[in-house]
């Protein structure tokens, strides 16, 4: 499933790299520990987190993740957005908490284990 489809179906607001929404989402990972994501997420995963500082961009870029969803209505810091633009990392935001958004992702067929 492409990011465009996710943003439409889950009502996500895109905060960075709007031109990269045709990226394919092949799975999902939810965690707020960056090393956990580095160790266990997989290429093409959509990452659900509440961390908003700019290091999330580096993590997403290292792992070639499909994009980041920030939960609980948290907004990325300005520096995070700038860095995400520079590295073409799509950051999306939702008002829902992690549990809810992950459930909705799962409903759409985005799973954690391939």
């Amino acid at each position: 499933m492409k990011l465009t489809e996710l943003t439409q179906k889950l009502n996500l607001d895109v905060r960075s790299a709007k031109t990269d929404l045709d990226r394919e989402v092949t799975g999902g990972y939810a965690s707020d520990l960056l090393s956990d994501v580095l160790g266990n997420a997989e290429e093409g995963d959509i990452w659900v987190t509440l961390q908003i500082h700019q290091n999330i961009v580096a993590v997403a870029s290292m792992k070639d993740l499909a994009g980041i969803i920030l939960v609980n209505g948290r907004e990325p810091e300005q520096e995070t957005i700038e860095k995400a633009e520079a590295e073409n990392i799509v950051i999306m935001v939702t008002d829902l908490p992690t549990f809810e958004i992950v459930g909705k992702l799962y409903d759409l067929g985005v799973t954690g284990i391939k």
Binding site: L33, L34, G39, Q51, I56, V59
Partner: protein, 312 residues
């Protein structure tokens, strides 16, 4: 690449690509009650040669410029589109592979097909032969680009150098406590290795290991330096600092063990998995540390056509 294999690549793609990937989804529709006299303006303004006719979300027909010309030629009175449209429309499902569309175009000779959702049967988009060609070209371009950049460019580069030993060397200086620039060195290294055309899997392993090491320099050691040596069959990342050192290396290597302060943990770091991640990415790793003097970490990653992964 000869022409035969390119054809088979296209054949492969028409099975792989779904109709929804290439269709246009911002479709202009008309209602069955729209008068024929309005059609010209609609087609001209939207620069299209035909459009689906939709009645309360249900697809009831398709009207094309041919239908319009026929109506004009016959000099009939104005009438609703429903009287001149093609009803009983042949449709495609959005999740069907592209090859079904190709076959249908061949079978019916139509200029376009309406694409509907398999479940709710609502109109999702419209597909023309042009969309298929465009979609295939785009995909071929992406694949070609990927092949071009990933064709182990560096290996060919190394092959061109006559020497007993060849190595490329990069150094990155990391400032301590500088969370704003955290990850910058590993990002730059990742981009560099990408330009050299190394296999993505190798690049990812090097980048992750380097990122974790870089974070350690920033969090615990007040900075340091990262030196990278790229050789034809191996990459060595040497990370050195003159920080406080690690009192108990065995403990530090245990997953989950961490001495990070709370403010670092709140940022999502300091989970005690850094060294663990590094060793998972590395083929070999050496960690030497003296309390009060500093820490030296050597990470070896073998280049063997990209085999292995960061979760191995």
């Amino acid at each position: 690449m000869n022409s035969d294999s390119r054809i088979s690549k296209v054949q492969e793609l028409v099975y792989e690509i779904r109709i929804r990937d290439v269709m246009k989804d911002d479709v202009v529709t008309v209602s069955p009650q729209t008068p024929m006299s309005r059609l010209r303006t609609i087609l001209r303004e939207k620069r299209i040669s035909g459009t689906p006719v939709v009645d309360t979300n249900k697809l009831v027909g398709i009207i094309s410029i041919d239908d319009f010309i026929r109506w004009l030629a016959e000099r009939e009175d104005d009438c609703p589109i429903s009287e001149k449209m093609t009803g009983n429309v042949e449709t495609l499902y959005a999740d069907e592979p592209l090859v079904h569309a190709v076959n249908k175009f061949e079978q019916y000779g139509f200029g376009r097909f309406a694409v509907i959702d398999r479940q709710d049967k609502r109109l999702r988009g419209i597909i023309t032969k042009g969309d298929i060609i465009e979609g295939l070209l785009k995909k071929l371009e992406i694949d070609y680009h990927r092949e071009e950049t990933q064709n182990e460019r560096i290996q060919r580069f190394f092959d061109d150098i006559y020497a007993d030993r060849i190595a490329l060397f990069f150094q990155y200086n990391v400032a301590g406590k500088d969370f704003k620039r955290a990850g910058e060195s590993s990002s730059r290294l990742k981009a560099t290795l990408g330009r050299l055309g190394l296999h993505p899997q190798v690049i990812r392993r090097v980048a992750i290991a380097t990122y974790e090491a870089e974070m350690n320099l920033i969090i615990y050691a007040d900075g340091g330096r990262i030196r990278v040596r790229v050789e034809p069959h191996q990459i060595l990342v040497k990370v050195e600092d003159s920080g406080p050192g690690i009192p108990d290396i065995e403990k530090a290597l245990q997953p989950g063990y961490s001495t990070a302060p709370d403010w670092v943990r709140e940022l999502g770091f300091g989970a005690g998995m850094g060294l663990n991640n590094i060793s998972n990415c590395a083929d070999r790793m050496n960690l030497n540390s003296t309390v009060g003097k500093g820490t030296h970490l050597s990470i070896y990653i073998t280049i063997n056509n990209g085999a292995g992964s960061e979760t191995n």
